[in-house]
Amino acid sequence: MEQAIDIILLGFLVVVAIAVVKQRDLFASVILFGIYSLLSAAIFVSLDAVDVAFTEAAVGAGISSILILSTLALTSRNEKPSSHSVFLPLMVVLVTGATLVFGTLDMPAFADPEAPVHKHVAPRYIQDSYQEVGMPNIVTSVLASYRGYDTMGEVVVIFTAGVAVLLLLSSVRHKEDELSNLTDLKHHPILLNVAQILIPIILLFALYVQFHGDYGPGGGFQAGVIFAAGFILYAMIIGIDEIRKTFTPKYLHWLSVTGVVLYIGVGIVTLLLGGEFLNYNVLAEEKLTGQHWGIFLVELGVGITVTATMLSLFLSFSEVRRTP
């Protein structure tokens, strides 16, 4: 049964991917990509990667699609037929693909529990993380503690993207006073009502995801994306002006800086307390309490930066002048 679902999902993926190649309407391509992302998320679930599925759904199908759609709104919707020669790309792709297939031939069988990946490094996470970190969700333990430094890097990546987009779009943005006349969807009663009910729930859920990541799937990143999604929904349906007034660019910027600084700051504090960078054990008398605090704080940092940056990205794109 499980395998059948898998095969169906994979089949869909293949169909969608080919459709994207063929599709000339960019809007359709984006939607197809959203579908591709959602299907992937489903496969992630079937592969036991619930956190990843969660993130992929929120990011791939959510934020990425919104960003691309915002861009399409500012550029053009249709792709022009390309007069590129197909031969060279095709050869490159075939060679690359063939190399990869060649590489798989010696790979351990799919889901083989004896594969090397399951025999080294990972067993310790599974067996000892509860004693060492004190979190039921091993992914959170690894993400925020064992490999907490990668996650710090990840927050910085998001921050970097925020900075990059602000830098890029600053010259083409509306002035403050020109912004009020942007359209919104306030006049669709159904949308409006649904949104009014949904948005508080979304925000509440985001809070839950933020603070429940220790026990179940989720964490700062997913929560941040959901938070941002809630506000973006509000902006699109009820009114972008209020969002803009609440979250001024400066404020958002400060928020995303705060998140990054919070994360790195935790590391600095651990340094000052005599531990290694991001060694949460030294944050409290009890090691596990220290881990708990450390993870709580860094996840908060992640959540703040992600929320602020995502919102800032959306607002930046929405404020681009339409006339060239």
């Binding site: 190399t99 990869l100 060649f102 590489g103 798989t104 031939l105 010696d106 790979m107 351990p108 594969a115 090397p116 990946v117 399951h118 025999k119 080294h120 490094v121 990972a122 310790r124 996470y125 503690s145 064992y146 490999r147 907490g148 430094y149 990668d150 890097g153 990840e154 910085v156 990546v157 921050f159 970097t160 993207a161 900075v163 990059a164 602000l166 830098l167 890029l168 600053s170 010259s171 910027h253 400060w254 995303s256 800086v257 990054v260 600084v261 790195i264 590391g267 600095i268 340094l271 005599g274 531990g275 290694e276 960078f277 991001l278 060694n279 949460y280 054990n281």
Partner: protein
């Protein structure tokens, strides 16, 4: 106490400084702050290099021992690269203020410095880490910030250059990701040191070969190894002057470092050179890079593009040195890593001066420049001579070792290629000299030298080009011991 934490501070310092830039608005403060951070980083790098005399430094981030946690692992090789990146970064920043104020919108200044520091920290992070996946993360930090930095160039082609770089760079990063995944699949670990021990145990397999291939192509894209260099000329040409200077001096050097690390440390010489014909592949690519890129440089009329093509060729020299698989060859590559950083930083800084005064860096802007901006133009000439490999410059030392390696290997075709490359370089350097000094009808030109704040750092770099061409005790000893370490030759 602080000396124990230097490895992590090396990266965290600029990383923390980056968002803090937002607090500052005044241009002078931003500049001073960034400069301070760069210099402190250089001090850290220098003391790390000293510490490596006592052996490899390992720092377990989060207190988790490798391979479960992420390890920072500093040996001579990466301490040396860290020093290059921070040293060049400091000097470029020292002279950068005016150029940045002129070329970057004043309202974007805080963000510009933020992005610059992020890029700086990203490059340091790639270099210092002992964890394969951590390389990917910091690679992306440096890449994303450099896309943004490049796009800030005044010419609209800066945008397309940044986009092209983004696409190529992301493909490269994804290839690296695939490679890391496959290595992980074979061994179950991400720690480089651990990988180095477990990969040979796993025995060579098709998966390993594929992992190698993808890592190699991915890194080569970042390295702009011929023929994957197409993004580089435009990216360097249209970026703001200071960004070009910084990236030309550092980014590709870090990529070469990653290549060395993964060939020599992770996969090991045995695998890469005995079981795979890597030597031959590297040689061929290097030859093509040296000859073809130099030819492109000769026909280029935009100075920044010219020197960007020359960078592609110079990377060829470094790769050629690696391909000999000898202490001398590797020494030459490592020397050139340092020396080329000095040359290109000096040249691009000088071009920043030209840009500042002339508003362009086309051949036409050089007419009579020897009179108009004598100091700047002299810097360009000395930098150019260093590229050619004239004695008393760093370029000569690199070339000496590279030729020695080729002669020792009995590869006289490669000797010819290296020499031909130098002679071709002489042609494009001479084009500049003629334009600057011997352009007729330049008698009426008035002097318009660049401000001292830019000239002094440029000349510091130029003098470094000469100093390290004469007193090589630091560079050669580090390069040689590192080469011996990488090759497992102990003396």
């Amino acid at each position: 106490m602080i000396s124990n934490h230097l490895p992590v501070l090396q990266v965290v310092l600029p990383l923390l400084a980056a968002p803090l830039c937002v607090l500052l608005k005044r241009s002078s403060l931003l500049w001073a702050f960034t400069l301070l951070v760069s210099i402190l980083s250089a001090v850290i790098a220098w003391s790390l290099l000293q510490q490596t005399d006592a052996g490899i430094i390992s720092y377990a981030i989060g207190g988790w021992a490798a391979p479960w946690g992420i390890e920072y692992r500093v040996d001579k090789l990466n301490a040396y690269v860290l020093l290059i990146v921070t040293g060049i970064g400091s000097l470029v920043m020292l002279g950068g203020r005016k150029s940045i104020e002129q070329e970057i919108d004043s309202k974007n200044l805080s963000l510009f410095y933020t992005a610059y520091l992020l890029c700086f920290a990203g490059l340091l992070g790639i270099t210092i880490t002992g964890d394969a996946f951590n390389v990917f993360v910091f690679l992306e930090i440096s890449s994303l910030s450099s896309y943004a930095l490049i796009s800030l160039g005044r010419d609209r082609r800066a945008l397309t250059a940044a986009y092209q770089y983004l696409v190529m760079g992301t493909i490269g990063a994804t290839f690296i990701l695939i490679g890391i995944g496959m290595m992980y699949m074979i061994t179950g670990t991400l720690n480089m040191h651990d990988l180095a021990q477990r990969l040979p145990e796993a025995g060579s397999s098709r998966t390993m070969l594929t992992a190698f291939a993808f890592m190699f192509v991915g890194v080569s894209l970042k390295l702009a190894l011929f023929p994957l260099h197409l993004w580089l000329p435009n990216a360097y040409a249209y970026a703001p002057s200071i960004v070009s200077a910084f990236l030309a001096g550092t980014a590709t050097k870090v990529a070469v470092y990653v290549l060395l690390r993964f060939i020599f440390t992770i996969f090991g010489i045995e695998y890469a050179f005995t079981e795979l014909p890597l030597s031959a592949i590297l040689m061929l690519l290097a030859i093509a890079a040296i000859l073809l890129a130099t030819m492109s440089a000769i026909y280029e009329s935009n100075m920044k593009r010219l020197f960007a093509y020359s960078s592609v060729a110079q990377l060829g020299y470094m790769v050629l040195g690696i391909s000999f698989l000898s202490v001398t060859g590797l020494t030459s590559s490592l020397l050139h890593l340092f020396n080329h950083a000095l040359m290109k930083a000096a040249l691009f800084m000088a071009l920043a001066c030209v840009m500042y005064q002339q508003g362009g860096v086309m051949m036409d802007n050089l007419k009579g420049l020897g009179r108009r901006m004598p100091w700047t133009f002299a810097a360009i000439v000395i930098g150019g001579l260093s590229l050619v490999g004239v004695p008393l410059t760093v370029g000569f030392i690199s070339k000496w070792y590279l030729l020695l390696a080729a002669i020792e290997a009995g590869q006289f075709v490669l000797v010819a290629v290296v020499l031909a490359g130098s002679l071709l370089a002489l042609i494009y350097v001479w084009k500049l000299v003629e334009q600057g000094y011997f352009h007729s009808g330049n008698e009426s030109i008035t002097r318009q030298e660049a401000p001292l704040s830019m000239l002094i750092p440029t000349w510091l770099l130029v003098l470094a080009n000469i100093y390290f061409g004469i007193d090589t005790s630091l560079t050669i000893s580090v390069a040689q011991t590192t080469a011996e370490q990488l090759l497992g030759v102990t003396q």
